[in-house]
Structure formats: structure tokens, C-alpha cells
């Protein structure tokens, strides 16, 4: 029984580090679909990124990373700025 508990704890620890991350950032200036394409395409080019979703009414970009991968705030800011926009608040969810 003790071995089972230890094994489950190890597996849980390993899988925890392999969780995908959901990163949400608001983007100032992202007011039209034509403009948002640049942000979406630039995020999609990143090897850490699994999927990108743009919500225009909320000016929100949601990025889901691949399991075990992350994107630091500095990289997100670089992508948003490089796309021609200004980054707002970042919220991360595991």
C-alpha cells in the first residue's frame, strides 16, 4: 500500500511539471480582425505554443502552451510589441 502511495505521488509530481499552461493577455490597440491576424500568426510560430485564441470584444489573446512548456512574460511582451501593439495584463492558469 505504501509503495502504491509513493508511486502515485511520484507520477503526480512528474505529470504536474508536464502540464500545459494557459496564458491570457489583454492587448491595447487590437480593435479589428484584420489587425489581430499578426498577433495570432506570431504566437503560432513559437515552438512552445499549442493553440491561440483571439477574443476581439475583450481585446484578449489566450495562448495554450504545449505540455511542460511556458512562455515568459518578457517573450509575450516582445511578441505583442513586435506585432505592433501594446501588452496589457497577463494572467496565467495551469
Amino acid at each position: 500500500m505504501r509503495h502504491i502511495v509513493i508511486t502515485l505521488a511520484i507520477l503526480a509530481g512528474l505529470s504536474g511539471s508536464a502540464f500545459a499552461e494557459t496564458i491570457k493577455t489583454t492587448v491595447n490597440g487590437m480593435v479589428c480582425a484584420f489587425c489581430a491576424t499578426g498577433i495570432e500568426k506570431t504566437f503560432r510560430k513559437q515552438p512552445e505554443v499549442e493553440s491561440v485564441h483571439v477574443d476581439l470584444p475583450k481585446k484578449l489573446v489566450t495562448v495554450k502552451t504545449k505540455p511542460g512548456k511556458t512562455l515568459p512574460d518578457s517573450k509575450i511582451k516582445e511578441i505583442v510589441t513586435y506585432s505592433g501593439y501594446t501588452m496589457g495584463r497577463i494572467v496565467r492558469e495551469k
Binding site: G29, V31, F34, T37, L56
Partner: protein
């Protein structure tokens, strides 16, 4: 004397354009911008009462796009003009609910009329402001092509989105375009325009006050 007269005419035309833009379109989206995303290519074609324009631009920096511009002018003076063009984002304001920009488009090449060719240069500025609901733009333009063409022209757009579409939905805009060509027969041309865009494909159509069909499209890839 001739230069002074031309300068005064340009000043007067600019003043009229600014006053008209302000008076007609009191502020609070959507002429295609001359820059796309870095690494993006944009093909644009315009057909209106002034002629047929085709351009292809590659955005290599957040502030610069380089491309080829060509136009077959039919408005009074028929000629063909083509050459490389540099589009520059001079200033951008990213606001929580809107965006404002000032761009410049500078090009040079050759103009041809019949068997006669001349070096040509053109310069225009585009100032725009857009929210998800409203769009305003103003663009003055100067073209110099020796004895083939010397002209000043300005254009303003104002419009609104009747419904607010999301990113993956069809966006529709209703706009009014006003062109002012001081040297042409029809100084002012007003065109009601309907515009659609879906992600990277953009199409607009209208019918001008001097009875010309306008069809423009832009594709980013």
C-alpha cells in the same frame, strides 16, 4: 509665380479636405493599412473612378513594408505608373478601445503615356483612427511624373460597423469615401461603400457620385 500659385492651390485643397473631414465626420474601422505583420505579404487591388491600382508589399519590420506599386490612371489624364514603394509606420497610438496611426507611402519609378516615358515619384500620408465601431481616415497624395502628371489628391473615409463581429466572424462596415481631385473635372467624388473582411481577406465595393463602380480587395498571407 507659377510655383506660388501651385503652392497656394495645394494649401487651399488641404484646408478644404481637413475642414470637410472634420465637418462631415466628427470623430469617434477600416481602410486596409499599408503594413501587415512582420513576415506578412499583402496584395492589394483597387478599381475606382481614378483608375486601377495593384500593389504587393512585404512587411520586414514592425515599422516598414517594401513593395511594388502600379497604377493605370484613367481620370482625365490616362497614363501608367509603376515602381517600388516603401510604406512606413510613422506613429501608432494603441489605446484600450481604439488605435490611431500615421503612415507614409513613398515611391518612385516610371510613368508611361503612349510611347512617352518619364521618371515618376509619389508620396502620400495616411492618418487613421479606429475603434471596433467607428473608422476615420484621411490621405493626401502628391504625384510627380514630369510632363505626364503633376497632381495633388486627397481622400477621406468615415464609417461604422452595424454589428460588432468577433475575430472568426465576417466583419461588415458601412462607410462614405470622399475624394477630392483639384485638377480633375469632378473635384469632389462621394462614394458610399460596403466593406467585408474575414481574418486576412478584405473586400469593399461602392458606387460613386460620378457613376463609377468601385471594387477593392486586399489579401494578407
Amino acid at each position: 509665380m507659377k510655383t506660388t500659385t501651385l503652392f497656394l492651390a495645394i494649401c487651399k485643397a488641404v484646408a478644404i479636405g481637413v475642414i470637410c473631414a472634420i465637418a462631415l465626420f466628427t470623430p469617434p474601422n477600416a481602410q486596409a493599412k499599408p503594413l501587415s505583420y512582420v513576415g506578412g505579404t499583402m496584395a492589394m487591388q483597387e478599381n475606382d473612378e481614378t483608375g486601377h491600382t495593384l500593389s504587393l508589399d512585404y512587411t520586414f519590420d514592425p515599422h516598414f513594408a517594401l513593395g511594388l506599386y502600379s497604377k493605370y490612371e484613367i481620370n482625365g489624364n490616362e497614363f501608367y505608373m509603376a515602381g517600388p514603394q516603401l510604406n512606413t509606420l510613422l506613429k501608432r497610438w494603441n489605446l484600450p478601445d481604439g488605435q490611431g496611426n500615421i503612415f507614409s507611402m513613398t515611391g518612385g519609378g516610371a510613368a508611361r503615356q503612349g510611347n512617352h516615358s518619364q521618371p515618376a515619384a509619389w508620396l502620400s500620408f495616411l492618418a487613421d483612427y479606429e475603434t471596433r465601431r467607428w473608422y476615420f481616415s484621411y490621405e493626401p497624395r502628391v504625384v510627380y511624373a514630369g510632363d505626364i502628371e503633376k497632381s495633388f489628391w486627397q481622400r477621406a473615409y468615415a464609417g461604422f460597423a452595424p454589428y460588432l463581429a468577433n475575430y472568426d466572424e465576417l466583419n461588415t462596415w458601412l462607410l462614405v469615401k470622399v475624394d477630392h481631385h483639384p485638377a480633375k473635372n469632378d473635384h469632389f467624388v462621394v462614394t458610399p461603400v460596403i466593406r467585408f473582411f474575414y481574418k486576412t481577406i478584405w473586400l469593399e465595393a461602392g458606387y460613386s457620385s460620378n457613376n463609377h463602380v468601385m471594387v477593392n480587395w486586399t489579401v494578407q498571407f
